[in-house]
């Protein structure tokens, strides 16, 4: 099979051995779990349990609303202590809604009935199963998997290429549970109706490749192929992997679906298979805990909602050199101000770097327009131009220069000889673009309400006018038949009045009659 090249990219020092030296270890239950209701900031989620309620592992505790909705499950049995906003493993540890559970230690699990014969099950039933077990992308995006599988597509790519230094959770999974990944790939291919399935790993993962080969040999399925792609960051990026495997580029602003391709992470495939064949909800994931700042790096099977502080403790705690805590890898991860944040479905790596790993000491210098950033950019952008646009606060120009296509891989900042934090600018710029789109939607809604109000006021004015016109007409009608009053009639009326005044009313105490 021919592997194509994508633009830019770099070979980085992988540093995965430390985490892969030991097998996957189960992370013991912490004294308290705070399960994030939405792993992505752009999803609105709501809790469906109240404090005090006893839950079992796998029970639904929250729902993510909308067309791409899914469910969130209790990751162990215990008592719900609170439903509240807690800092998340996100940029600046932004707070988000969490369900706080105190485990009872029994870890009593509730499962859905297994769908053993999924090969004969209708697509809709399998999609529904993925939705009601809360399966989301475990590659870091946490996008609901059912939504990604909704339309039939001819090609499925199961992505096992990590490429980012340090992150080794997928490789550990492939080494130890390749058969689950292969079964998951077969399941996802069946749901999609895909004729071709690529299971892609890096060339630098020979053990994982061997495990996959024997698993695929034991359980072959139609159209499946293994592919080893060169280890060149960001080969594991969805768009880059698609280009490497098919030679086709996802259009700017488009989706892989536009090419008839759907990409799923290997861990997602395994979780989907467990959801269908065993009825298990998504309650745990494999997390790499590594870096020179932890004593015993390794891969852990972690219940969602486990505090990172607890997780690092299981890895032997921090070393004296620990200088920075990151959620995610060194290129795309975010620095966290503290470790009191829970692991979510999007947390694939907890990285603790030592001071000598950091590059910040170098001061930022002006851009010398060397275009090194453009040379390495896998999205074929001109980061120097985007930087100029954003520094001038010109988001419209940045949008025109395809800022939205930036995959935030961090290579531009890494390559920049002037130490400019380019990717920080782009993350902020992309957030700004999203905020502008939201503001636009708000403005459109405000315009509608304004119009509706104007129409209502106009209608009310019209009605008032009509009412007063009607009243005038009524008055006019009431007066019309009265004939013009003659002078004699007036005099007669006055005379009548005088006569009545002279006779006091019966029982009247009117003293006005002087």
């Amino acid at each position: 099979m021919r592997i194509h090249r994508f633009h830019g990219g770099m070979r980085l020092d992988l540093r995965k051995q430390a985490a892969l030296a030991r097998p996957i270890r189960p992370c013991p239950l912490p004294p308290q779990l705070a399960i994030p209701l939405a792993a992505r900031a752009d999803m609105a989620a709501r809790a469906v349990v109240a404090p005090g309620r006893r839950v079992r592992r796998g029970e639904v505790i929250g729902r993510i609303e909308g067309a791409h909705g899914t469910t969130v499950h209790a990751s162990t049995s215990g008592t719900v202590l609170a439903v509240e906003a807690r800092p998340l493993a996100d940029a600046d540890a932004r707070a988000g809604p969490c369900v706080v559970i105190e485990p009872d230690g029994a870890d009593d699990e509730q499962r859905l009935p297994p769908i053993e014969d999924w090969r004969d099950a209708p697509r809709a039933a399998l999609l529904e199963r993925l939705r009601e077990t809360g399966i989301v992308g475990l590659g870091g995006g946490a996008f609901p998997s059912a939504a990604k599988l909704a339309g039939a597509q001819p090609t499925l790519i199961v992505n096992g290429a990590e490429c980012e230094p340090y992150v080794a959770c997928d490789e550990a999974l492939l080494r130890e549970r390749a058969e689950e990944v292969v079964a998951g790939a077969a399941l996802l291919a069946h749901v999609l109706g895909a004729a071709r399935t690529f299971i892609a790993v890096e060339e630098a993962m020979p053990q994982a490749l061997a495990a996959l080969e024997s698993a695929l040999h034991a359980a072959p399925f139609e159209g499946a192929a293994l592919a080893a792609v060169p280890t060149r960051y960001p080969e594991g990026g969805e768009r880059q992997l698609i280009q490497a495997l098919t030679g086709r580029e996802v259009p700017s602003g488009g989706l892989p679906q536009d090419l008839g391709i759907v990409c799923h992470n290997v861990a997602t495939a395994a979780a989907a298979w467990r959801a269908v064949a065993r009825g298990e909800a998504l309650t745990a994931r494999i997390v790499t805990v590594t870096g020179a700042g932890v004593v015993e790096p390794g891969n852990f099977e972690v219940r969602l909602g486990t505090p990172l502080a607890w997780l690092v403790e299981q890895a032997g705690g921090y070393t004296a050199r620990a200088a920075r805590l990151l959620a995610g890898g060194p290129m795309t991860g975010v620095a966290l101000p503290h470790d009191d944040v829970p692991a979510s479905a999007a947390t694939h790596c907890v990285l603790v770097l030592a001071e000598h790993d950091l590059r910040d000491a170098a001061p930022e210098l002006p851009c010398i327009r060397c275009a090194e950033c453009a040379r390495v950019c896998p999205a074929r952008l001109q980061p120097l131009q985007l930087l100029a646009d954003l520094r001038a606060d010109d988001t419209a120009e940045a949008r025109a220069h395809a800022l939205a296509d930036c995959i935030e891989c961090g290579l531009c900042a890494y390559a920049c000889p002037s130490h400019i934090p380019l990717v920080d600018w782009f993350r902020r710029g992309k957030a700004e673009l999203r905020a502008q789109a939201a503001a636009r939607a708000n403005a459109d809604a405000a315009r509608e309400r304004y119009r509706a109000r104007e129409a209502r006021l106009a209608r009310e004015r019209e009605e008032r006018l009509q009412r007063s016109a009607a009243r005038r007409a009524e008055l006019a009608a009431a007066q019309a038949p009265t004939p013009p009053i003659s002078k004699d009639a007036v005099l007669a009326a006055i005379a009548r009045g005088r006569a009545r005044k002279r006779v006091p009313p019966p029982g009247g105490e009117s003293g006005g009659d002087a």
Partner: protein, 184 residues
Amino acid sequence: MFAALLTLVLVGAAFALALRCAERRLRAARAPVTADAIDALLPQTQCGQCGYGGCRPYAEALARGEADLNRCPPGGMAGVRALANLLGRAPKPIDPACGREKPPAVALIDEDVCIGCTKCIQACPVDAIVGASRLMHTVVGDLCTGCELCVPACPVDCIAMAPVEGRTPPPRPGAAARTQVAAS
């Protein structure tokens, strides 16, 4: 010498003429910008700071070429640039006579002080206030555009503008933003 000068002058004149014709033609080719297209760029705050009583009337005045494009403070410089782009005019700073660009805010009614007079409901251009006569009123934060029209309308001064969290952009990356990259 004279012949050379004459040739140059003639050539220059010919080019000048050609340029002028071209400019006329190209300018005529530019389609007039509709008020709808302009209104789509305005923030729909409906505050009237532009002096036209609302976004739509300002858009119409701009479309007629009667108004300057720097009269909308809520739209900010980003808005001015967008308008300049659409209208093919040069951007310029917001007219200070119209107001200043401010961080986004929504109205907040002090519900203990509110007397339920309904004056703010009548002032709100986008129906963002709910309440009934002589009952406490409240602003629906998501619907409020921050136009500030309800603030002077309140007879007991119980409406204040509160900045919206999350709608203000994060600080610009600089020395403080530290990108962490493993040395390879």
